[in-house]
């Protein structure tokens, strides 16, 4: 009788299966004996513990101390990475820097730390030469907030750039203007930098107190939105509409709980309003995946649902803190109740400049003594 090849394959598989089943059975008997002996030893009030080698070599990469999502370490260099359209992410610094290149020149969002600025400038100039259009100069810098890791390179990047000025602007610019590229920020940023005595070379050169603004650069609309008091009161969100890349700044931080700089006007409820705005401005692709690329202040790129889940986590923590605060609990009592415990392994830190304790303290401090437990924008 003719046997079809698929049947022969099935027969071979069956034969292999029987051999495997025999060995598996033997293994199970051995394992059962081991478990029975272990059970005899443990019976009586102690929950069983996982054996050390229960799964052989660990499949968990983190168990070996390797984190594939950790920021690149070691080379101390800036690496341009094409995000989408005309927009590039400059990877390797302490905070994210975004660059748009095209025929009008270079548009830079945030300038990282002062220490990395020379390397950042070199990579921006290389990017402009290799990927830019007719004009290679840095024309515009925008700061999403006034913190040192976002404005540190302002001086070096600004001085390497230039503005196009004509007509009646020439005189005032020559006499009173700052040479180089325009550095744009919310007016609250300058107010605070002046008050704090920060080196004036790092100050923005152009300010507005708007809630939203739109301009066109390199052939695409660049929308700028100012949430009133998010991480700070000078926060900006920038959307490159055609490239479909949204720079959220520190409103989104994929490495930790967001930094809420209470001394610079930051509040938890303002931050949640800003996060909801980011979610509104982003458009997902099918199945709630992909779509608008969101550049956080720190960490990996995100898309809309990442920010939704991040916002959900922060809202839950905020609601718990408000619930406790309404009961008259002090900050120390709330900290002891660990309202963020369910999320600390992913978002919390126990050391460094922004710990979980700092975050909960900022949330507690900026909530009212007796307010609505459940956050909503209408509050």
């Amino acid at each position: 009788m003719h046997t079809f090849s698929s049947e022969r394959g099935a027969a071979r598989a069956g034969s292999r299966a029987s051999r495997r089943a025999w060995w598996a059975g033997l293994g199970l008997v051995a394992a059962s004996l081991t478990v029975a002996v272990a059970g005899q030893q443990r019976a009586g009030g102690t929950p069983p513990q996982a054996p050390e080698s229960a799964f052989g070599a660990p499949v968990n990469l983190y168990a070996r101390g390797a984190d594939p999502y950790a920021p690149p370490q070691g080379d101390g260099e800036i690496h341009p990475w094409h995000a989408r359209g005309r927009v590039w992410l400059m990877v390797g610094g302490e905070s994210n820097v975004t660059v748009q290149v095209g025929d009008n020149g270079v548009y830079v969002v945030d300038t990282g730390t002062q220490a990395m600025a020379p390397k950042l400038l070199a990579q921006i100039q290389r990017l402009a030469r290799e990927q830019g259009g007719a004009h290679k100069a840095i024309r515009m810098v925008i700061n999403t907030n006034g913190r040192a890791d976002h404005i540190g390179g302002n001086e070096i990047i600004r001085k390497a750039g230039s503005q196009i000025i004509s007509g009646e602007e020439r005189g005032p610019q020559a006499n009173f203007g700052t040479p180089g590229a325009e550095v744009f920020a919310h007016e609250k940023v300058l107010e605070r930098l002046v008050a704090e005595g920060v080196n004036s070379e790092l100050w923005p050169t152009d300010l507005e107190g708007f809630e939203s603004d739109s301009r066109r650069f390199n052939g695409e609309a660049v929308e700028i939105y100012h949430p009133r008091s998010a991480n700070t009161d000078g926060q900006l969100i920038v959307l490159f509409r055609e490239s479909d890349v949204l720079v959220a700044g520190d409103v989104v931080d994929m490495t930790s709980y967001p930094l809420i700089d209470v001394a610079r006007g930051g509040t938890i409820d303002g931050l949640l309003v800003a996060l909801n705005k980011v979610i509104d401005m982003a458009v997902p692709d099918r199945q709630a995946d992909g779509g608008t690329l969101i550049v956080p202040g720190h960490g990996r790129l995100a898309t809309q649902t990442d920010v939704v889940l991040y916002k959900n986590t922060l809202t839950i923590i905020r609601n718990l803190v408000q619930y406790y605060k309404n009961q008259g609990k002090t900050l120390e009592e709330v900290l002891a109740l660990k309202p963020s415990e369910g999320y600390d392994q992913r978002w919390g830190r126990t050391s460094g400049p922004w710990t979980t304790r700092d975050f909960i303290t900022a949330v507690y401090t900026t909530l009212p003594a007796n307010g609505p437990v459940f956050f909503s924008i209408a509050n």
């Binding site: 394959g9 199945q287 960490g299 600390d344």
Partner: protein
């Protein structure tokens, strides 16, 4: 030795080597086609889902338990999450029909990728094989529901590693989160018409041990998949920015299944110790459950208290 004989020997040697190579290549198992999950396997976890707070056998951490205690199933009604499919760590464990197909390099005839499509919510995953020449995404690349999968054949087993996953659920209806640092290793192989997928899910944030799950599928001689256009609707009206959740007092386990079988509620808390058979001996040392009526009354009281706080009449 005559030349003719030497040539014959050489030809025989070449054929033998070719045959050996063919055996090596045929060690790859044919896993393409339509596959139906065997629905009697743990199905209550993936259909309606078990009760909230039913975590036995899951190697979850205290953090996971704490996060789950605030979970409210209306979270799924948040507009932006309504079209969320299952992730690669969850979809293959459910009751969806699965289609697998391969793409071969037209010159070498070697696999460059294997694609997986789950019927529910059109979950589409690509497993990149070594011959694809695909560069893995960097650490700063965005994550997706299906993540980034690479595969290779080890004998007749397909070994797959997946990273770059979005935050999703270990068990959705119970609010058990898997973070975006989750990775998954799989072993897929065939026994005749049965496809086995062993999933080993690791998450440094929420699992103290890898969660290991084996799923069986039976081969379907033919099949078809419906498209899945998704549109968000306002099923549960809620104020803008509102996130459904439960407050801290709402953490009592009121598990009807455990109560009706007299299984100690402590066991429902799960944790790695509940994965092992000897936990049954330990359970005998645990205190008895309170009466079901008492638990249900407590549940109603908690619900009323939370509703009052939501409406601003409680604190």
């Amino acid at each position: 030795m005559p030349i003719k004989s030497r040539l014959l020997r050489l030809a025989a040697a070449v054929i033998s080597v070719a045959a050996l190579l063919a055996v090596q290549l045929s060690a790859q198992s044919m896993i393409t086609g339509y596959w139906q999950p065997l629905g009697d396997q743990d199905s209550h976890n993936y259909a309606g889902g078990p009760d909230p707070g039913e975590f036995p056998g899951l190697p979850i951490t205290d953090a996971m338990r704490k996060a789950a205690s605030t979970y409210d199933e209306n979270e799924m009604m948040i507009r932006e999450l309504q079209c969320r499919p299952f992730s690669a760590t969850y979809g293959p464990r459910t009751l969806s029909t699965m289609r697998l197909w391969e793409t071969l390099d037209p010159v070498t005839q070697r696999q460059t990728k294997i694609e997986m499509w789950m019927a529910f919510a059109a979950q589409h995953r690509t497993i990149w094989m070594p011959d694809s020449g695909q560069t893995p995404p960097p650490a700063w690349a965005p994550h997706s529901w299906q993540g980034y999968s690479t595969g290779r054949w080890v004998g007749d087993e397909l070994w797959v590693h997946t990273s770059h996953l979005k935050e999703h659920y270990l068990q959705r209806s119970q609010g058990l989160i898997l973070s975006d640092r989750t990775t998954m290793d799989e072993r897929m192989f065939r026994y005749g018409d049965i496809l086995v997928n062993i999933m080993m899910i690791s998450d440094p944030a929420y699992l103290s041990q890898p969660f290991v799950y084996s799923k069986l599928y039976v081969h379907l001689p033919q099949g078809a998949m419906d498209p899945y256009p998704c549109q968000a609707y306002n099923h549960v009206p809620m104020p803008e920015g509102h996130v459904p959740m439960r407050l801290p007092f709402y953490t009592r386990v009121y598990n009807r299944t455990f109560m009706s079988h007299g299984i100690p509620l402590e066991a429902a808390r799960g944790g790695e110790q509940t994965m092992f058979p000897e936990y049954q001996d330990y359970m005998k040392t645990l205190p008895l459950n309170p009466p079901l009526e008492q638990i249900l009354e407590e549940r109603e009281r908690q619900q009323a208290e939370q509703d009052a706080i939501r409406q601003g009449t409680g604190r």
